[in-house]
Every structure is written in C-alpha cells, then in structure tokens.
Symmetry: C2
Subunit: 135 residues, 2 copies
C-alpha cells in the first residue's frame, strides 16, 4: 500500500461571491442566508454566508486530486459545520490518513478531514472513508 498513517494533503481556495451564486444555482439552495444580503444582515450571521456544503466540497477536491488522488472512490463523509464561511474567505481543506484499512485487506482508507479559514478557524470538521485508486 502506497499510503502511511499521518500522510496529509491540502487544497486552498478563496471563496468568491460567484462561487456561492453558482453553487446556489446548481443545487437550487437559494436560502436567503446565502443570496439575500438584507435578510442575512438582519440575521445572527450579520451578512451572507456560503453554503456549508460548498466549503465541505473542497475536502473532496483533496481526496480526488491529491490524496489518495485521481481514481479515488468516495464512500463515506461525515461533516460538522463549525463556523460560517463568508464571501472572500480563504479556505484550506485538509485530509490526513488515520487508518489504512488493513483489517479489510487495505481496501479502504479512513481520513480525518477538515477545513480552516484564513484565521486558522475550523469551519468544517469530519471524517472520510475512500477506496483508493488501484484497489
């Protein structure tokens, strides 16, 4: 197996307003918290926030592009949304191998997955299970 416990990778992207609007259009999630600045300003958030799943999706970018990389099959993803993401925030999604699945013949990797913003605050936390490429 090409992976070791503790292997880590990340991907960083600044979340533009356009990302949020395209995500709203793709998913149909036009919750006012994402697309109505006046309503969002009057809410506990004080302004528009990104869809939680938009930030979380950067985790899949790392899994599918970097670790384990192209050909990975995403089996399971647990997510906790721990802080709001605002337009202009720079997010870094992290994945870290925590279990090689050797008890299952190495067929599945388990990874700790989380997303931080430019202040180091964790905005999404959770865990993934994937079938790595070539298995």
């Amino acid at each position: 197996m090409a992976w070791q416990i503790g292997d880590k990778a990340s991907f960083t992207k600044t979340i533009a307003e356009s990302d949020i609007y395209l995500f709203a259009g793709i998913t149909g999630d036009l919750n006012p918290m994402h697309v109505d600045e006046m309503a969002a300003r009057a809410s506990r958030f004080g302004g528009r926030i990104a869809h939680g799943m938009l930030g979380a999706s950067l985790i899949c970018t790392v899994l599918g592009m970097r670790l384990p990389g192209p050909g990975t099959i995403h089996v399971k993803q647990d997510l906790r949304f721990t802080a709001p993401v605002r337009p202009g925030d720079t997010l870094t999604a992290w994945v870290e191998v925590v279990d090689l699945g050797l008890d299952k013949g190495g067929a599945r990797l388990r990874l700790k997955t989380w997303v931080t913003n430019q202040d180091g605050l964790t905005v999404v936390d959770g865990e993934a299970v994937v079938v790595p490429p070539g298995v």
Copy 2:
C-alpha cells in the same frame, strides 16, 4: 415546535453535464472520473459521473428551502455515497424528521436524509442535524 416526527419533504433536479462542470470549477475537483470521458469510460464506471457531493448538496436544498426551511442552520451531515450519479440522472433528495431534540429543549432537529435517482436507487444516504429557524 412546528415540526413532527415523520414530517418529510423533497426536491427533484435533473443533473446536467453543466452542473458537473460548474461544480468542478467551483471546487477545483477535476478528478478525471468527473471531467474526462475517455478515462471514465475505461474505468469501472464506464463513463463520467457526478461528484458525490453534488448529489448530496441537494439534501441541503431541501433543509434550507423546505423542511425546516429558510433560516435553518446546518450543524451536522453524515453521508454515504451508495451508487454513482451520471449526467442526465434525475435526483430526488429527501429529508424526514426522526428526532425533535426535545431533550435539548427542541433546539435541534435530527433528520434522515437520502437521495434517489429516476430508478428509485438510493445514491446518497445519511443523516442531518439542524437548528431550525426561530430557535
């Protein structure tokens, strides 16, 4: 509390090729399985598939738009990706209230969440925890 155990809502959308390409651009997840028809055709999938998180994101559309609806705060989402989604598939995301969180003062709803395709096959399964609007 305005919700009852068993309350259910859904949202249906046909996943266009453009949804997959925009999702790839937004997230940076250009895994060949999503954007390279030749590579995908040679894989176990036999052709391009949508990002798992794209189908899963329709769950958030139901939560944020229908049940519990606008103002909902998404706290937790567990996902299992159980079958591939292909361009042209018509997905229906479902949510169903399974716990009113009354032991926590009704502050949090727990919902069973799943996505089916046009053949009735479950492509995403899981569970959400949300703070409903007005709590």
